[in-house]
């Protein structure tokens, strides 16, 4: 592949270490991201999206371990590629990347700031650590960032505490914090899930504007396909720790291949459909527990196209259907058999 990647994740395996066993959470995830692009990572709760995201910065909770795989990151200005999966999670190298080269926006803005420190303090800290600037200068940068993030009285806001902010304001502050050191990669882990719908739209617009201005690549994690459709250039669909389909956003929405993707799209409520009184189609069954992963294709027990003897044998490989559009399903194993 001749393309220049910002991030190339290969065969990422993460498991939850218990006393006597270890439970796989992320099983052989591959994806890559070009500079300046937005990748949407979609899946139900517990499918491993957030764990994948946390692992990219090595901030997994201590029970979760990267068992195997590579996270090749090309975001240093010098152009040297680092394998983040091999770095020490408490070492200096990864600390320089965190907040400096890769930063993250979290799901709950309310609990992602320390209640004991001012908003300004918590953003200035990041700038001081990475840019080694003096405090006054860091404060000016912070005020500018907050203004850009749409906080009106930014000069006053730096002195205020998180409990004096609304959820939407805090999310703006978090975006300002994440962008404070011009990272090459921004990971947004369900950044709008905890917000009102009207605020959601504002935050998404803000992120898109800033992404254009800063040229940052984004990994946008969400369970909301509608939101991802607006934001992403490329979408990866995850189910139980595996990517089952991946491709350009248009392809995924227009010609979804994997039965799970098709079902997910059917489950989106659409305003236009109110008149047809079409019932939403829920996906049959529930996600199996972490302790009993089905053999073969992990989706086979909920799949309408289940083929006995094939689907429960082994997990299918990701196969390129059209340019950059990959799917892992036996329905397409023969290639020419379509739909």
């Amino acid at each position: 592949m001749g393309k220049k990647y910002l991030l190339n994740v290969k065969n990422l395996n993460i498991s939850w270490r218990l006393d006597k066993a270890s439970v796989p959470i992320v099983c052989g995830v591959d994806f890559s991201l070009e500079p300046g692009k937005v990748l949407g990572l979609v899946g139900e709760s517990g499918c491993g999206k957030s764990v994948t995201a946390l692992s990219l910065m090595r901030i997994l909770p201590k029970e979760l371990k990267i068992e195997d795989g590579e996270i090749l990151f090309n975001g240093h200005n010098g152009g040297k590629t680092v394998d983040i999966a091999k770095l020490k999670p408490k070492g200096e190298d990864i600390q320089k990347i965190r907040g400096g080269r890769i930063s993250m926006i979290f799901q709950e803005p309310m609990s992602s700031f320390s209640p004991l420190h001012t908003i300004g303090n918590q953003i200035i800290e990041v700038i001081e650590i990475h840019k080694k600037t003096a405090r006054g200068e860091a404060e000016e940068i912070t005020i500018n960032l907050l203004k850009k993030a749409g906080i009106a009285d930014a000069r006053d806001a730096v002195k205020r505490y998180p409990f004096e902010f609304s959820g939407g304001m805090l999310q703006r502050a978090m975006i300002a914090k994440a962008l404070s050191c011009n990272p090459s990669l921004l990971i947004a882990d369900e950044p709008t899930t905890a917000l009102d719908v009207t605020i959601q739209a504002q935050i998404l617009n803000l992120m898109r504007d800033l992404q254009r201005e800063f040229g940052t690549s984004i990994i946008f994690i969400s369970h909301d396909l509608g939101v991802v459709g607006q934001m992403a250039d490329e979408v990866a669909i995850m189910y139980m720790g595996k990517i089952v389909e991946r491709g350009p956003t248009k392809n995924i929405f227009k010609t979804p291949k994997h039965p799970y993707t098709i079902k997910l799209l059917d489950a989106i409520p659409r305003l236009g459909n109110l008149e047809d009184r079409r019932r939403l189609e829920p996906i049959r069954g529930t996600v199996p527990g972490l302790f009993n992963r089905p053999p073969g294709c992990i989706f086979h027990d909920r799949c309408d196209s289940y083929m006995s003897g094939i689907c429960d044998s082994a997990f299918p490989d990701l196969r390129e259907m059209s340019e950059n559009h990959f799917v892992a399903c036996y329905l397409y194993e023969k290639g020419e058999m379509d739909q």
């Binding site: 910065m57 965190r98 993250m104 209640p115 004991l116 650590i129 914090k177």
Partner: protein, 330 residues
């Protein structure tokens, strides 16, 4: 913030005033008065005192007046800095308790310092290295510390000190320093003896605060804001100290007043067992003798310590937790 502090000062003073009334009533509650206690002591020595003599004593001491008049006389004196007269010692109360109070204060504040330094640092270690060998040792010692009463621990230390080192760990001074005026050498001698009572008095509190620190910090370590700060590239040690530890210290600071009161109220019995020249043994004796003004002054002193402790902890909380400053003013 300023008005909050003023309000706290006013409520602290009100509390002290109410306590002085309760204290005065409490001292009067046991049957009999100083004169009765005096007479029974004398009669044990074979001296017979007539009823007329006793009544004369009462009139002289003002014990024949109604309770409220006695109280007003006493509290009026206290406000002017006169704590009254100790009948048992035939000296003003302030003279009797003067030196002992400073020793009690040294004892209480060293114990407090010992408790907090040890509890916070071991608590942090225990939480960060959860289930390590060190954590298990701290846990076991903590349970023992919580379960064992202070006076028992004092007795064990006395026994062990005698048996292993052939020395008396009781008291606060070496014999040659007991009756000499304060000097640098005497002060150093006290520091050398101080660790035993500090250990005894601080043990339960340390164990308790250690458990609190460990539990709260374990909670805080998994909070979102810690992960978020880590994602900003904050180095681990700075991260630990700046965010979760500061949050976890809140409940510890909040119990400062309470801890001080436990140390102060635990002190008399331990002081008796370890024969310390603190206010403890004096207090117990004053109660037994019904030496009214002495006992009243001591109760007032102990309560003032508690009120001051609570006051300090409130102010500290306002300083470390911005949410406390805003709650009332908004």
């Amino acid at each position: 913030m300023f008005s909050l502090i003023v309000r706290r000062i006013i409520s602290a003073l009100t509390t002290l005033f109410l306590i002085s009334i309760v204290a005065f009533i409490l001292i009067q509650l046991p049957p009999g008065d100083f004169v009765d206690a005096y007479a029974s002591k004398k009669s044990q020595g074979g001296v017979i005192i007539t009823k007329e003599q006793l009544d004369a004593m009462r009139i002289q001491m003002g014990l024949d007046k109604p309770l409220y008049q006695q109280y007003l006389k006493w509290i009026g004196g206290v406000l002017r800095g006169n704590l009254g007269y100790s009948w048992e010692y035939h000296r003003p109360v302030s003279e009797v308790i003067g030196e002992r109070i400073s020793i009690t204060l040294i004892l209480a504040f060293s114990t407090l310092l010992f408790t907090y330094v040890l509890a916070i640092s071991i608590g942090i270690y225990s939480a960060v290295r959860q289930y390590s060998i060190g954590d298990h040792i701290a846990t076991v010692l903590g349970y023992i510390g919580l379960a064992m009463p202070g006076f028992l621990f004092a007795l064990i230390l006395l026994y062990l000190g005698q048996k292993w080192f052939g020395m008396s760990v009781g008291g606060l001074f070496s014999p040659e320093f007991v009756d000499v005026p304060w000097s640098w050498a005497k002060f150093m001698d006290m520091i050398k003896h101080l660790w035993v009572p500090v250990l005894v008095l601080g043990m339960a509190g340390t164990a308790f605060q250690l458990r609190t620190m460990r539990a709260t910090l374990l909670d805080e370590l998994n909070k979102m804001y810690v992960t978020a700060a880590r994602a900003g590239g904050v180095p681990e040690f700075r991260l630990l100290m700046k965010y979760p530890v500061r949050m976890a210290i809140n409940p510890i600071v909040a119990t400062l007043g309470w801890e001080l009161s436990k140390i102060v109220s635990g002190a008399p019995i331990v002081g008796l067992v370890l024969s310390l020249p603190s206010t403890g043994p004096l207090f117990i004796q004053a109660l037994l003798d019904q030496d009214m003004y002495l006992a009243g002054a001591m109760i007032l002193f102990y309560c003032t310590m508690v009120v001051i402790g609570t006051f300090i902890s409130d102010i500290l909380l306002m300083i470390i937790d911005p949410r406390m400053r805003f709650k009332r003013s908004s």
